[in-house]
Symmetry: C2
Subunit: 391 residues, 2 copies
């Protein structure tokens, strides 16, 4: 969807003539009351569910949660996924042309915040003719957007589902983001962020930096426990031998190779693979923009750090979910949100799920987790039905 | 001290004609029973205590713990600090010449393990005429060396003081090491590890990679709590204004600058500064070697993972200390060591110190921590005195 009117940004800059890519699933009902807006985190897009025709491995990033018969059931709800500004998955971003200059944005793409994204999303809903959402929903950075929706447009949703999120980032989280950004910015191929040709195609790609950024991210999305269980201290040699006995010939099983630069442990191989994949498809400037949006989000900031005051504007009913082993967005941070909402006499359901997978748990299948989300949306659906039956 | 005999290494390689730099503090007593060997971790050296003449800021890395009247009192003990092979602080390392080829080692410096270091340290003690140590002592990687001493030379020490250590690294720890190594190895200035001139001086220095490595390390040595307390979400602008009001002129106090590449938060400024300092003085090949020694250490490995069996050889009495907020070498890991030692009916004292500083706590002043170490060494000293008084 194209937008010609400029979008004013929190930084004081504005962005004009931008596109937002979105997908919808299910049918909008007659009174337009069954729409659910699903918001994406760092490494995701508008493609939240389903597969593209003829592309077997194209499942949406929340396909286990959203679809016909799934916890967020697209037979009952009209689900909207929007790709955020600054992303590299279709909406206007650093690889596109600045209409004011005709040149590719690169590093000059304006800094966008969670609040800016929400404003852009609201305009898209306006154009779809949807005033009030049944729910806004997101995990991690997506959860921050859902929370911000309840503060920026308190009248425009009945429910907010905020999963594995936080009222702001801790110093440690900012620190991990900063190391990842430094790895990208100091990669010589980053070239100050202006590494695109005239058509927005990268001429050089700061892959070294992107790999490091992804490896750091990956470690922090998992828990120590799940890494020990999945990889432990297992050597790569063991798997090589399984695949091709000749590969590791002449070495006793389980012996070290004694190398500082080559892969020795399985966990190293896994991380390198994740880094390589990510560096192929992700954009470096997008990484900087999205991690900064995470850093900047802090609704309590303008209230001197008083989160209860900051959330006083919210009118939605809330479901919050956190995961015990998530050390990046820990249950403690979700409990801060719960407390601040209860201080304002908001209606809040909160589930703390005992799952081993760390922050990644919000994307994975866990019976108790999906059951909680399913029950919550069943309840919303029942409310819709009775509202529809009312005169 | 120069060693002409080759040192066989666990990798099957050997190293010959090497030097070990060491320092001693206090006086060796007549029966040579009061020697304490202090072992260093990643970013340290033989210079464990005291200052060099005329160099005000040259305190040893454990100067708060070791010296006259300090917990490890050099008026009673003869303390030895040895710089390990592969280091960049004086002992033979990658920046030195391989006597077999005449060329600077660079990336060809052999992989060294904790066990190899202990063997080299034992040879140095042989040359000093010290058979039995009053104690071996170390924190973190130094603690692994102390533990390995009790297994490789069980008759050569009376006590082992193992602080903030672990029986091996978890997958998460290996993962952090691997990301740091990849940052270094993929820095174009690393040049495969052969970046030295003929005299061992770096011609190029992979500073980008070293900075990233240090920033990652720094985050993981601290706790989330102490980072929040020390930096929180404080902006750099606030401090700039304090130092020079003109610097941050025209911006309302506490407002964001909205930047993806420049420093916004204090924590970023702190980490960049730490990275810059480290990149100046540390060697990239040393970083790879030392982190690999950490990865490889795993005495239970040859016992099928059975730590109790692995520690059966130990004869020393033990003091173990861990810190509640240390998530890199957590109390849980120290408790594994305690249990395995108790399984072998070894005498073990164990203190779990409630300190906020994460892994770094082992280098910092904490009354309860230093009191425990002081009491333990007082007890050892009393044992020495009574042994001296015996016929």
């Amino acid at each position: 969807m194209h937008f010609a009117d400029p979008l004013p940004l929190r930084s004081g800059a504005s962005i004009r003539a931008y596109d937002l890519v979105y997908e919808t699933y299910g049918e909008l009902n007659a009174d337009k009351s069954n729409a659910v807006l699903v918001l994406h985190a760092l490494n995701a897009s508008h493609h939240v569910a389903g597969k593209y025709a003829g592309q077997e491995r194209s499942e949406g990033w929340w396909d286990n949660m959203i679809g016909p018969g799934k916890p967020l059931d697209t037979r009952r709800f009209f689900v909207i996924g929007i790709n955020n500004l600054g992303s590299c998955f279709g909406s206007t971003g650093p690889m596109h042309r600045n209409p004011d200059t005709g040149a590719v944005y690169g590093a000059s793409f304006p800094v966008v915040t969670v609040e800016d994204w929400v404003d852009a999303q609201a305009r898209l809903l306006d154009r779809l003719g949807i005033h009030t959402l049944a729910a806004v929903m997101g995990g991690s950075l997506g959860g921050m957007q859902a929370l911000s929706w309840t503060l920026q447009y308190p009248q425009r949703m009945r429910h907010a589902v905020v999963i594995a999120s936080a009222p702001n980032l801790t110093a440690e989280n900012i620190a991990f983001n900063e190391v990842a950004r430094r790895a990208i910015v100091t990669d010589p191929d980053f070239q100050g962020g202006n590494f695109y040709g005239a058509e927005g195609q990268p001429q050089t790609k700061p892959k070294r930096g992107l790999r490091i950024a992804r490896m750091i991210g990956h470690i922090t999305y998992l828990s120590d426990d799940v890494m020990n269980e999945k990889f432990g201290r297992e050597l790569r040699g063991a798997l090589l031998r399984e695949a091709d006995p000749a590969q590791d010939a002449g070495r006793a099983p389980g012996t070290y190779r004694y190398t500082t630069q080559d892969v020795e442990f399985q966990i190293e191989s896994y991380l390198r693979h994740q880094g390589d994949k990510f560096a192929e498809y992700f954009d470096a400037n997008t990484y900087l923009l999205i991690t900064r949006a995470l850093d900047y989000f802090d609704p309590a900031r303008e209230y001197g750090g008083n989160l209860s005051q900051a959330l006083a504007r919210a009118r939605a009913r809330f479901l919050l979910v956190s995961f015990t082993t998530d050390w990046r967005f820990s249950p403690k941070r979700s409990r801060e949100l719960v407390k601040a909402l209860l201080d304002n006499r908001r209606e809040v359901s909160y589930a703390e799920i005992d799952a081993p997978h760390g922050h990644d748990a919000f994307l994975l299948d866990d019976k108790r987790y999906t059951a909680v989300v399913r029950a919550y949306f069943d309840q919303i659906a029942a409310g819709l039905a009775s509202a529809g039956a009312a005169p």
